[in-house]
């Protein structure tokens, strides 16, 4: 009986282990009149996964904690795809173009990774962000954007 439970535990660990996924770069700074950039999602696991993208605006409190909300109307983001199905060890680069009515601005693209279909039970999703800071000048772009939101990174 002990060996049975040990085998069951091993089985559960093997089945429930989270999918291995990466997003690079997690933080980008872009500058100019129109911002161009890209990020890459990768499935390093052996099972195929679905990835869906959702762009969100965010604000930061004085302690640096972000609060997410739907993408602001003032941020005009164009992605070359909103979802992808990745086979084992595959990756996909998403290119984007962004314009903001007021700068500096920032947004996060949440990449939601889910694996397979199940008729019953629970679906585990992993949400990995790719955050973009968009300014007139590249220098200190992230710092300036967070400062405009009321968070001074130098006071950390």
């Amino acid at each position: 009986m002990k060996t049975f439970f040990a085998a069951m535990a091993l089985l559960m660990l093997a089945v429930c282990s989270p999918a291995q996924t990466t997003v690079t770069p997690p933080i980008s700074e872009v500058a100019g009149k129109v911002g161009h950039g890209s990020f890459t999602v990768m499935n390093t696991a052996l099972a195929p996964i679905f990835v869906t993208l959702e762009a969100r605006s965010f604000s930061v409190d004085k302690q640096g904690n972000p609060t997410y909300r739907p993408l602001d109307q003032t941020v005009h983001l164009s992605l070359d795809g909103m979802s992808v199905r990745l086979g084992p060890k595959q990756q996909r680069t998403f290119f984007y173009t962004v314009k903001c009515d007021t700068k500096p601005c920032a947004f996060t693209v949440y990449n939601t990774f889910t694996a397979g279909h199940t008729d019953e039970g629970m679906q585990v999703a992993i949400h990995l962000p790719a955050t973009v800071y968009f300014c007139d000048k590249m220098k200190d772009c992230r710092q300036d954007t967070l400062m405009a939101m009321g968070y001074d990174t130098r006071k950390k």
């Binding site: 089985l11 089945v15 052996l46 909103m82 979802s83 595959q90 397979g116 679906q123």
Partner: protein, 474 residues
Amino acid sequence: MRKLLFIFALLLTPAARGQVFQLTGGSSTTYNAVGGGVTMWLPGSATQVGAGYADGHFVAGASTHFLFQGWDIFAGDHQQSITAGAGSVAAPIRGLTASKKTKHQAFLIFAGAAGDLFSAPYFTSMTTNHFGTGYQYTATFGGVELDSLGAIIGARKSELESATWKQKHFNLAGTTGLLQNQFLLNGTAGIFTKYISLNGARQDYIFQGEKSTVENIGAGFNAGALSANASQFRGVADGNRTSGWTTGAGYQLWDGAVGLRGMYFRSAFGASETFSVSERVTPRLRIVENVTQQKGNFTIDGGGTYVGNRFTATVDWQEYFMPDLVGRSPFERALTASVTFNVRNAGATLATLLTPNGRIKYTAYADTYVNGPLGGSVPGQQAPRTGRYTVALLVVDPHGDPVAGATVYVGKELCITDTLGTCLMRFHSTKPLPVLVVCSEFGTPGRWAASAENPVTTAPSSDPAYVKITVNRQ
């Protein structure tokens, strides 16, 4: 016996689920080899088998990599490369390699038949002709790393002791001892600040019993858009001394959209200058133009990089310092070009190398991933879509609530809905496309069925309204 079979079947289930094979094959005049291989990715282990012809001889190899009670184990053919501070020993081994790490210590041992490992991007194999064994022990404390490594490969003995000291603004590393029966003394030192870096190194290189030494000192300056560097090299190979120095500066305009770079190379055989301009034409495409002057002769060449999901292409010139060159400038310029294609689960790469003596070498290989017989189908990466016309979908249940993770084919392309139940796809034309809801692949748990009233076709447009699709959870 039944219990054992039951437990084995239970453990095999996730193994079959994660069973993936990577098939590779290729040919190369750079490596002078043709061959192929299979890598089997299973939960907890990866096994590789390869075979082919290298230098006109049939060669084959196999290896497996797994964890066993905290030990990281390679069994079979493995290129054991042990690095200690500023020195390293390469030991191709057909046998066992085991390593274990704790917070402050690491230990590695290997033993087996040693010889020459052949490794190309598309297969790995080995020929053996003598016995080899070795170890490495590493201890770290307070930013200091001490290494001791020893190896006996055939008649060649190596015994190196090394110390590395790393801090935020500087590092220091020294290695001494015997490498392949020859005395070795290597050292590197570096100081780094926000804007300035200084470094110096002395490296002994021993290859097939021949020793060459390269000493260099260098300085770098980096202040955002402006960067500059200078290095001096001295080399000794086979009793011949050679030296050279190089300096350069670069400037980035318009947040990196245009880059300017100038380099100057000087040796006893003359000087050469290279001036480069690189432009970011689009986010995916960057091109480079080079003007080179050597002994009064001007050469203009160029290159560039295109990065996309369907294919990636690179053409590049590299400058190498080669101390083995006798009676001529030790700086050599070589052209490399490569193209990689991705189609579904398969990828193909073609790379060429124009050597300094003007000969073209090439490498071509392809690989693909397939599932094992028990693993089901492996969906490939869908082709990336661009275009000015779009299709927008909204998938809801009968109450009007959004359904996340719904999978809908529009034409041949798959769209997966986000948490708002929406997804967007791009197309090049307004041609009507069939719409197919694939309930068996939904990311949201449950048994789903599509409503019979859903649209069967849709046409992309430049200002699309959401195409509403209703699905029921049964």
